[in-house]
């Protein structure tokens, strides 16, 4: 199928799902981060678990091409950037993806968030030339590393366990779903 058509279908599906789980609602995000409402946290944990089980199950059976994986590098900037993103996420109730979706639902504050986002990304683009040679970009744990063997990337657990990598990944996926199930629920009725 044409890639652009796929982008439209998969992007619309993802945006729709984010809206349906409440991720484009800043109250849901802020109440999750205030530790008042775990509904979204349960959904996210289950979502990661389900996608991971399907992905590694699919790769083990040869139905999914492992070449589609794209593991991001680990460096100090991931820690610093993660902290900054977390602070801004809590401040606004939006992250980049949910900001786009929330703007689609007609939220004006989300449009303002996107303008701020464009400014932030632009500012980073202008500063990259000076940042790129600092310690922030130094790889950690070998850079593009995974926990279990996926194929082309180095894996930490490769030499520790005798289970095949995909089985460990499926177990991690099941564990994430179980953590989600164990978190307190039944708060979705009070938003």
């Amino acid at each position: 199928m044409n890639n652009i058509l796929l982008a439209i279908i998969l992007g619309t599906l993802f945006g729709f799902v984010l809206q349906r789980i409440g991720a484009a609602d800043p109250d849901k995000i802020i109440n999750m981060l205030r530790l008042k409402d775990f509904h979204l946290m349960k959904t996210i944990l289950a979502g990661i678990g389900v996608s991971s089980i399907l992905l590694f199950g699919g790769m083990a059976t040869g139905l999914v091409d492992g070449g589609h994986l794209s593991v991001k590098s680990m460096y100090w900037g991931v820690v610093a950037g993660g902290i900054l993103l977390g602070a801004g996420w809590a401040m606004s109730g939006f992250c980049p993806g949910t900001g786009v979706v929330a703007a689609g639902t007609g939220r004006i504050d989300a449009l303002v968030f996107l303008l701020g986002g464009l400014a932030g990304a632009g500012l980073y683009g202008l500063m990259f030339g000076t940042l790129k040679s600092t310690f922030l970009m130094m790889p950690l744990f070998g850079g593009k590393t995974t926990l279990v063997q996926t194929g082309e990337y180095p894996a930490i657990l490769n030499t520790v366990t005798s289970l095949p990598g995909w089985a460990v990944a499926v177990l991690i996926g099941v564990a994430l779903i179980c953590i989600g199930a164990l978190l307190p629920g039944n708060t979705s009725d009070n938003r």
């Binding site: 945006g15 799902v17 593009k144």
Partner: protein
């Protein structure tokens, strides 16, 4: 109003799985750079150049757009690419979600100023916009420094068991929880 966590978890998991099975893992924050690049290139047409020596076939005078063989420069020159259209389509998905949301009595379909904001700051609209603009600046600057955001690092990353994904998620929640409890208070109801 929203899906329960089981339905939501399955649908969210399917979205991430279908994207990686068909093309590649979902990511969003890079496209803010591409959007900036498209605007900047409209003002300064010399920003992006065709370059046979570059791996992507394009280069830029900006070091960020020029990195990894001009990968971003190419996306700016050809905005009709998979990743950019994907993110634009997410906007449509949000709109579709809103249209299909059943209105509940006494509650707006979209609460323009969040309950959490009203609870803490009353109806101070400009403060809400100030918080979201500043939040947007910090979120995207941080996401670009980290090389990904909640979608790319946290969800797609942990899905693939990436070390960077676990560490990014830990760092983000470690900062987000105290910030949310400080700004929006850790007392009071979740409804109003």
């Amino acid at each position: 109003m929203y899906w329960n966590w089981k339905t939501g978890g399955i649908m969210l998991g399917l979205s991430f799985f279908l994207a990686v099975a068909a093309i590649k893992p979902i990511g969003v924050s890079t496209q803010f750079v591409i959007a900036d690049g498209i605007m900047a290139a409209a003002v300064d047409p010399t920003l992006i150049q065709k370059d046979k020596k570059a791996k992507s076939g394009y280069s830029s005078s900006n070091a960020y757009l020029n990195k990894s063989g001009g990968k971003y420069a190419k996306s700016v020159a050809k905005p009709l690419n998979y990743s950019f259209v994907f993110v634009l389509s997410m906007f449509l998905g949000g709109l579709l979600g809103r249209i299909l949301t059943k209105k509940e009595a006494g509650k707006p379909v979209v609460k323009q100023i969040p309950y959490t904001h009203v609870h803490r700051f009353k109806n101070r609209v400009l403060l809400r916009y100030g918080l979201t603009f500043a939040g947007g600046v910090i979120v995207l600057w941080g996401a670009r420094l980290a090389g990904g955001c909640t979608s790319g690092h946290m969800m797609s990353g942990i899905m693939q068991t990436s070390i960077s994904g676990y560490i990014f998620a830990a760092a983000a929640f470690l900062a987000a929880i105290p910030t949310a409890r400080f700004i929006y208070n850790n007392t009071g109801g979740t409804n109003e």
